[in-house]
């Protein structure tokens, strides 16, 4: 399988204009994400996961190392790389339907076609009946679904997701994870999914990248060989492949968290 995203020797420092000391966020990251693959990224909080995502999205300029998509250096944002942000990025002044159709609107897709696609995505994420509501009228889980649909509907080749389900309750999160799995099967998109939940990382990932404490380095890659169709929470706790992967990721993350707290 060809690599969709390639990161080589990526290092990043944030300057601090008040203290003059820079924050060393990433150190020589090397990784690849293959076409149609869903990879998860875990690591202690503050280790540079969002930094990596912002660089891949083209939102954060970088100097050291390289990040490319389809062999082309990433130098700015593009509709080819959709982002589901850590803070909910659905626009408060657009209704659910208009948020979801925003990407198509920006591409100049005609209204009729747009409405058809939007209603498909509204069904896909279970927001039927809420098309004309505004974000402040939705629950946390619904906002999150809306955010995912907003990015999906713009039809990017790559989805970059930054802890998208962190802020919702446990029940909703499980549903959203299974939904995302279905979406991954249905759309075959390349997805980079950041999380701090080990269960989530093992459940969703074809592979899981475990990062070290700051400055973030790639500590280990854990393979999770469970067919997508078999990934249902009800079966997971009896699946030795899942348990093995989860325990391994858990052990690695624990070690790194201990380092970062030391």
């Amino acid at each position: 399988m060809p690599a969709k995203l390639v990161v080589t020797d990526l290092t990043h420092h944030y300057p601090d204009e008040y203290t003059g000391e820079s924050v060393h966020a990433l150190e020589k990251i090397n990784l690849e994400v293959n076409e149609g693959e869903l990879v998860t990224v875990v690591g202690p909080s503050g280790c540079g996961k969002s930094t990596l995502l912002n660089i891949l999205a083209g939102l954060l300029p970088y100097r050291e190392g390289n990040a490319s998509m389809d062999g082309v250096k990433i130098q700015g944002p593009s509709s080819e790389r959709g982002v589901v942000f850590q803070e909910q990025a659905i626009l408060p002044w657009r209704s659910v339907a208009k948020n979801i159709g925003h990407g198509l609107e920006l591409k100049g897709v005609p209204r009729g076609e747009r409405e058809k696609r939007v209603s498909e995505f509204i069904k896909l994420v279970g927001l039927v009946g809420f098309e004309d509501k505004f974000p402040h009228e939705l629950s946390g889980g619904m906002k999150q679904r809306c955010a995912v649909a907003r990015t999906l509907c713009a039809d990017p080749a790559v989805m970059l997701m930054d802890e998208p389900f962190a802020a919702v309750d446990a029940q909703t999160r499980i549903t959203l994870q299974e939904e995302l799995n279905r979406i991954a099967i249905a759309t075959k998109k390349t997805i980079l999914f950041i999380t701090h939940s080990v269960d989530e990382a093992a459940f969703l990932g074809d592979r899981c990248f475990v990062f070290t404490a700051r400055p973030g380095r790639l500590r280990e890659i854990v393979n999770i060989d469970i067919p997508r169709e078999k990934r249902i929470w009800a079966d997971m706790n009896n699946d030795p492949r899942f348990i093995e992967a989860r325990d391994k990721i858990m052990r690695l993350v624990r070690e790194e968290v201990l380092v970062s707290n030391a």
Binding site: L59, S78, G82, E87, A89, L91, P92, R94, F134, P156
Partner: protein, 286 residues
Amino acid sequence: MNILQSISIGVQRRFGRQRLRKIFLGSIPFAVIIFAWFMNGYMGWFPPVFIPPIGEVWASFFLLQEDCPGIGAIVALDQRCLMSTHILSSLSRVILAAVIGLPAGIALGIVAGMSRPISKFLEPIGIFANSISGIAWIPLAIVWFGVGWKTTLFILLNTIFWLLFFNSMMCVRTVSRVYEQSVLTMGGSRWAVIRDVFLPGAMPSIITGIRLALGFGWRALIAAEMVGGDSGLGFMIFSSAAEFRMEEVFLGVIIISLIFLATDRYLLAPLEKWTILRWGLIWKPT
């Protein structure tokens, strides 16, 4: 059920209980003032030179309009239709200044808020211009434009534009960057970011800015008309006071307030209701 009850229920159905309550509560302070004013007529607490009787103020409205030949003359701002001419000339100046000053201030403010070079270019002159209150320009404006509508328009524009410019510029910077990034990562252009993110995102401040600008604008206009105008409500108040026609002074003040109240009620409140309140950017007190 008696007839009074059913009328009361009918009225409540028609206009809405909440709204009636709001109107009722809001009217109480006015009712108190009007009552006190009325009582002053009977009790003679203050002589009529200070506070003219309510009836005289009411009558002066019609007296000023007495010689008016008709609608055509009203529209033509004929000097015989004194009352309507004063009202319309003030009003048209405010509208003209608002139509030019509000969009220009908002647009340049947003652009300056987004772009560092442009804000570097415009911010110092903006701070400089804002430090001088609108009315301080009056003497200079009279020298430049003479007594008349040009001076009043200049004063108004100067006040409205800079207020909106500042409010919009500052508010753009409080709009969460993640919204901008979201539009950029969906292939949006700079223009799309302005239209879909910064303009609606800055709306709370823009509406506050419009409120402030119209408030300060009216005040500046009245002052400008007093000193450097030849018509308008400010001119009317000033020239009537010079001749001790207090009922006309009162009338002018009341009309200004009523126009202002109406603007807030029928322009700004609906704008607020259908934008920032609808979007949940502000909340309604309970």
